[in-house]
């Protein structure tokens, strides 16, 4: 009958199309992968990723956490984690991640000169991302936090097509242009079947250290409104705090260096309740 013929044709077509795509394969030893993305640049992905990784480790000292900096063009993790140096190779020719504060880290920043730009087209970027995922001796990790670059292009596609992802955290600031991109980011994850765990509102409000007056420099509740529209949770609301930036610049992220500070208690509250659901 023509009905079953159509079905056979559809199946065949699907099989042919999927032949061209990379097969999704988990990274050996890594239990769950959480990606931190945004769509928009400069909203605090790296800052959030670093502090999530540290908070996950601080919450439960039995858990092993890794941090992968997938931003090939603008790797920020080395600076924020105060790490430098060329990774050693294991006998199996895998790169050994650099460790600080108990977190195993890998970044393009370790492999190139600080001042050298990576002026690469997409294909080379894909191959670099593949290496950072698979040719690293991660060991046994409970969580691998991946700091994504801005945008919705090659890197995001390569990562989501290559490995199973437990969930994505989308960071945004309250302003319109950032929310628009966060929305695109959420749609991108939907297209590649990655569950979005929720949104993080960053740089939500600034409190003057002198007079305590609060100013919403980048707007007020944009992220909450967007979360409602998209049916997502707001995982946390992080204010603009000089401490967060200062400690990142000096390579001593706030969760580690000032664990008692207001900013940190907010980060912990935000991520305490969010543990990725176990892979089925």
């Amino acid at each position: 009958s023509s009905g079953s013929r159509d079905e056979i044709l559809r199946d065949k077509r699907a099989r042919v199309v999927s032949r061209g795509l990379p097969k999704q394969k988990p990274i050996e030893g890594v239990k769950q992968v959480v990606v931190v993305a945004s769509g928009k640049g400069g909203v605090g992905k790296s800052t959030t990723a670093v502090n999530i990784a540290l908070a996950l480790a601080a919450n439960d000292s039995t858990k092993e956490v890794g941090l992968l900096d997938a931003d090939i063009y603008g790797p920020s993790i080395p600076k924020m984690m105060n790490l430098k140096g060329i990774p050693e190779l294991t006998p199996k020719n895998l790169m050994r991640p650099l460790k600080n504060y108990g977190i195993a880290c890998m970044s393009m920043g370790f492999l190139v000169d600080e001042t050298a730009p990576i002026v690469w087209r997409g294909l080379m970027v894909m191959s670099a991302v593949e290496k950072l995922l698979r040719q690293v001796d991660w060991g046994q990790l409970d969580y691998l936090v991946i700091d994504m670059p801005p945008g919705t292009g090659d890197v995001q596609l390569s990562v989501s097509q290559n490995i199973p992802i437990a969930g994505a955290v989308i960071v945004s600031t309250p302003q319109d242009v950032a929310l628009l991109d966060a929305c695109k980011g959420a749609e991108m994850f939907r297209k590649v079947h990655v569950p979005v765990l929720g949104l993080v509102q960053n740089m939500s409000v600034f409190q003057c250290p002198k007079c305590k007056h609060e100013t919403h420099i980048f707007g007020a509740d944009g992220v909450r409104d967007l979360a409602k529209t998209l049916g997502l949770n707001v995982l946390g609301d992080i204010p603009l705090h000089v401490n967060i930036r200062e400690t990142c610049d000096s390579g001593q992220p706030v969760v580690i260096s000032q664990p008692q500070s207001d900013a940190v208690s907010l980060v912990h509250c935000a991520f305490n309740d969010r543990k990725p659901s176990p892979r089925s």
């Binding site: 600076k79 730009p117 087209r121 997409g122 801005p150 945008g151 292009g153 007056h213 100013t215 930036r245």
Partner: protein, 269 residues
């Protein structure tokens, strides 16, 4: 080689706005530069080659506009009746403004080539090219496509903090390698003055951009402070330069525009 009938033949000066780091204010600076130049009587076009995160249409409140075709290609969108500022962005080509563009490099490159070759800009004093962060497909393709038209140069935008300056340092090297003249560095989000007590807090640090400019031997175009009125203007698609001349970011933005005007009137070396 550009022919008589090339769509960019009537454009006198091309200025790229680059960063390397995301979220430092490239689109903001592009928008305010266009508005300032318009107020100096110039005809300005903005080409938004950020395909994943096109911000420019929203900053002029024309995000729902459509693009039409004419004999020589696409007609850019005018932001007002005077037709003094025209725009082209992928934002106008999407069915819905929040549709995601999830493309790999080759597809992006093809569209950028079209944006450079096939938009009927007409006669412009300045074409400002707003770019996405990084040094990837979009940047390589844009610089290659614009090369025959000899751009005036690039403005690099950074915030003062170390992670931004690091990325912009890389962008400087990119400019050198591709032969793109650096018109100067802008240090954006440099300080916030509390509207209540006037205390200045350096939320994103201070001085990083200025130091980078000194170190690299390029012009420092100035510090633009964090100005909630500026953020709000952009959200609402208003003309900040016209409506808020007394606001804290105004003097710095005016200075950047003046520098561009001065650079454009010098004979090219």
């Amino acid at each position: 080689l550009p022919t008589e009938r090339s769509n960019l033949a009537g454009v006198r000066h091309i200025v790229l706005v680059l960063s390397g780091k995301g979220g430092v204010g490239k689109s903001t600076i592009s928008t305010e530069l266009a508005l300032s130049l318009r107020h100096s009587g110039k005809k300005v076009g903005i080409l938004d080659v950020d395909l994943c995160g096109p911000s420019i249409p929203r900053m002029f409140r024309v995000q729902n506009s459509d693009v039409h075709q004419c004999d020589s290609g696409w007609v850019p969108v005018f932001v007002d009746q005077d037709k003094s500022i025209s725009l082209m962005s992928i934002g106008f080509l999407l069915e819905k403004p929040d549709d995601a563009v999830v493309w790999r490099g080759p597809k992006k490159n093809a569209l950028i080539k079209q944006f450079v070759d096939d938009v009927a800009w007409g006669d412009l004093d300045f074409l400002i090219v707003d770019t996405p962060p990084g040094t990837s497909d979009e940047h390589i393709s844009t610089v290659e496509a614009l090369r025959p038209y000899k751009p005036l140069g690039a403005i690099l935008v950074t915030t003062p903090q170390a992670v931004s300056v690091g990325d912009v340092r890389r962008e400087l090297t990119f400019c050198k390698k591709t032969g793109l003249r650096v018109l100067g560095i802008v240090e954006n989000m440099s300080g916030f003055v509390c509207p209540h007590c006037s205390e200045c807090t350096n939320i994103f640090s201070k001085g990083g951009g200025e130091e980078l400019a000194k170190h690299a031997g390029v012009t420092f175009l100035g510090c633009v402070p964090l100005d909630p009125q500026l953020s709000q203007s952009l959200e609402e698609g208003r003309d900040f330069i016209q409506e808020f001349p007394k606001s804290s970011a105004f003097p710095a933005l005016a200075r950047i525009a003046q520098h561009i005007l001065d650079s454009s009137s010098q004979p090219s070396s």
